[in-house]
């Protein structure tokens, strides 16, 4: 915002209140009410407004307090913003960002705890990122703002309290680039968002196998090359998703890997997911619902020992 007047922020309570999760705290004091705009509770007008302002040359960063709220305005993103470049044959583009809070773990219940990345990842024209730590939040948000297309940044609520070094000197990252967080031999574990720390924790328990742990960072486009290179080495693919198995990114990653590396794969791919069910509220229930490190270890170990995909916990007898 300091370097370019075109960047503005808009959303419900993003200004004076600094955002429901305080992500935009202090911005209005610093940049004024012209650039940090408190809007009515009008998600369609927020996303449509951001789109119009972006077509007209600004770089609006819109916030939806919870990703579920984008549902009332999805048209503006997946059908309107995502098609403007195409329908104008490249004469117009929409450099807007949607930042929104996703995920479970805080007891917000079924309507405020989903990730819903597949709402966005199935739209040609959109780019979708999911930061896993403070450093990636910083670099991904910058990439999203400077990108000339609509970008959705899914910020996990469970990560807002994280503390970590942010490297301001790093050269700019590339859109769609994953990062290998940990190097191993026996299995490739691919994760995104809050599941990255779950995957890392699993790999660090000395489970008797070692893993490449890849933080995907971007769900659309996603880093096919890096994932393939790793599975070519390990022959085993595991994805860890904070959502049920239906229409999740893990399915796409698994299919692409299988179609490309079939003859080199030792076992079928394993998708660690939540049950295909709404997110429960009570702490005990939600804890069981979300994938954790212990469960990842169990599932991966079982795959490596038996050679077949183990039942998920909710189907244990």
């Amino acid at each position: 915002m300091e370097s370019d007047e075109c960047v503005i922020v808009l959303g419900e309570d993003v200004g004076a209140a600094g955002g429901a999760f305080k992500v935009t705290e202090g911005l209005q004091e610093r940049f004024g009410v012209r650039r940090v705009i408190d809007t009515p509770i009008s998600e369609t007008a927020i996303l449509g407004g951001a789109m119009g302002a972006a077509i007209a040359g600004l770089r609006p960063v819109a916030e939806m307090m919870f990703v579920e709220f984008a549902g009332v305005a999805l048209d503006q993103l997946v059908t309107e913003a995502a098609t403007v470049r195409y329908l104008s044959r490249g004469q117009l583009n929409v450099p807007m960002v949607l930042r929104t809070a996703v995920g479970g773990g805080q007891g917000f219940g079924a309507q405020h705890s989903q990730v819903l990345d597949h709402w966005f990842t199935s739209s040609p024209g959109l780019k979708v990122a999911m930061p896993a730590d403070p450093n990636s939040a910083y670099h991904i948000t910058r990439l999203a703002i400077w990108d000339d297309d609509p970008v959705v940044v899914l910020e996990h609520k469970g990560l807002y309290g994280d503390r970590g070094e942010v490297d301001l000197e790093e050269p700019p990252w590339a859109i769609g680039e994953a990062v290998t967080m940990r190097v191993g031999q026996d299995v490739t574990i691919v994760a995104a968002g809050a599941m990255v720390s779950v995957a890392l924790a699993a790999a660090e328990t000395n489970p008797g196998w070692s893993a490449d742990v890849i933080d995907l960072r971007w769900l659309r486009p996603w880093d096919v090359d890096q994932v393939l290179a790793s599975v070519a080495k390990t022959g085993v693919l595991v994805t860890v998703e904070e959502a049920g198995p239906s229409a999740g990114w893990g399915g796409d990653v698994s299919l692409t890997v299988c179609q490309t590396l079939w003859s080199r794969m030792k076992f079928p791919p394993l998708r660690v997911t939540t049950p295909d069910a709404p997110v429960p509220h009570a702490q005990e229930l939600e804890r069981r619902f979300l994938p954790n490190a212990e469960y990842v270890v169990q599932q991966v170990s079982s795959l490596l020992e038996t050679g077949s995909v183990p039942l998920p916990w909710w189907e244990y007898r």
């Binding site: 503005i8 012209r34 705009i37 809007t39 009515p40 009008s42 998600e43 369609t44 007008a45 996303l47 449509g48 407004g49 951001a50 789109m51 119009g52 302002a53 972006a54 077509i55 007209a56 040359g57 600004l58 609006p60 009332v72 048209d75 503006q76 059908t79 309107e80 098609t83 403007v84 470049r85 195409y86 329908l87 104008s88 044959r89 490249g90 004469q91 117009l92 583009n93 040609p124 024209g125 780019k127 990108d147 000339d148 297309d149």
Partner: protein, 327 residues
């Protein structure tokens, strides 16, 4: 100084009454051509014709300077022509030809030409309205004197996007003009079945917005009301809601014959034809022969444009087809 594009020249042609009349005739002729091309099997998908509503688009285009942005609906052939798009580009696009304004990738519902301020026309009812508000936000942010126009149907005043947009534009005081083309029907439903009002401009009151109705068949009345609304917006005094009372002569789309409307009703509106009204004003005496002359001239121009649009040309190739999805 660059040479003015044909589209820009066409826009400036609306400064005179003769220019406006000719453009309204052109819109009517293009729509009739499209109807017959549809019947001849030349057109896939849907078309939504504008015949009967010409004074609204031409009135708007004659007071919107280049630099303004128009976010309009799938019923957009008339607006595109009024803003300056060439008939060849409209007909080519509607027929899915590479001669179309976007090479056939858009079709009837997605005409576009940023050089005349026309965003890709919107096929989701009401979706264009908040986008115009956003364009106005950018204009206000830069203290530019351009204005954004949201053009919508009567049916669209019942969708959430309309209300969110009016509210936000009003509370932020943005330079946008909302133009309702009240043609009395949303698809096959008469206004009164779906809406508890006859006068839709009254919805502006709920948002403390300047609002008025205008005779949508009289291009002068439309231009005057919209020019006022535009000055109001450009002066930083906020949005307006203008309801143009108009009528679509054909059915909602494609093969709809509009049989749910009485012959009397249609006749009443046809007798207040926007082209006839302006012709009579231009030529108080003996207007019918002068009008026929002009119609003949435009008809042959549109015929030539149609031939040009449909001339044998290969469709855009697969590289072009898959370009411009992201940058």
């Amino acid at each position: 100084m660059s040479i003015e594009s044909p589209e820009h020249l066409r826009r400036r042609g609306l400064a005179s009454d003769l220019g406006r009349l000719k453009r309204m005739i052109e819109i009517r002729e293009v729509e009739e051509t499209i109807q017959s091309l549809y019947s001849a099997g030349e057109i896939r998908g849907s078309t939504h014709l504008y015949s009967g509503q010409e004074a609204v688009a031409v009135g708007l285009a004659s007071v919107a300077p280049l630099g303004d942005t128009v976010a309009c609906t799938y019923r957009g052939h008339g607006m595109a022509l009024a803003l300056g798009m060439e008939p060849t580009a409209v007909i080519g696009e509607v027929c899915g030809r590479s001669t179309g304004c976007v090479g056939g990738i858009g079709g009837s519902m997605h005409l576009c030409d940023p050089s005349i301020g026309l965003l890709p026309t919107f096929a989701i009812v009401g979706a264009q309205i908040p986008v115009a508000v956003g364009v106005a936000l950018a204009s206000a942010y830069r203290a530019a004197d351009s204005v954004a126009w949201a053009v919508l149907g009567d049916g669209a005043t019942n969708i959430g996007a309309f209300h969110e947009s009016l509210n936000m534009a009003s509370v932020m005081g943005l330079p946008v003009v909302f133009v309702i083309e009240n043609n009395l029907y949303g698809e096959y439903s008469p206004l009164r079945w779906t809406t508890p009002l006859d006068d839709l401009f009254r919805r502006g009151e709920a948002y403390d917005m300047r609002a008025a109705a205008v005779d949508g068949q009289d291009v002068h009345a439309v231009a005057e009301a919209l020019a006022e609304a535009r000055s109001h917006a450009a002066a930083g005094r906020g949005p307006s809601l203008i309801e143009a009372k108009t009528y679509r002569y054909s059915g909602h789309s494609r093969s709809d014959l509009g049989l749910y409307r009485s012959a009397d009703e249609v006749q009443t509106w046809v007798s207040r034809d926007p082209i006839g009204i302006l012709a009579e004003r231009i030529w108080p005496e003996g207007h019918s022969s002068r009008l026929s002359e002009m119609v003949e001239q435009v008809r042959s121009e549109v015929r030539a444009a149609t031939e040009h649009a449909l001339r044998p040309m290969p469709p855009i190739d697969k590289v072009e087809m898959l370009r411009h999805i992201t940058g």
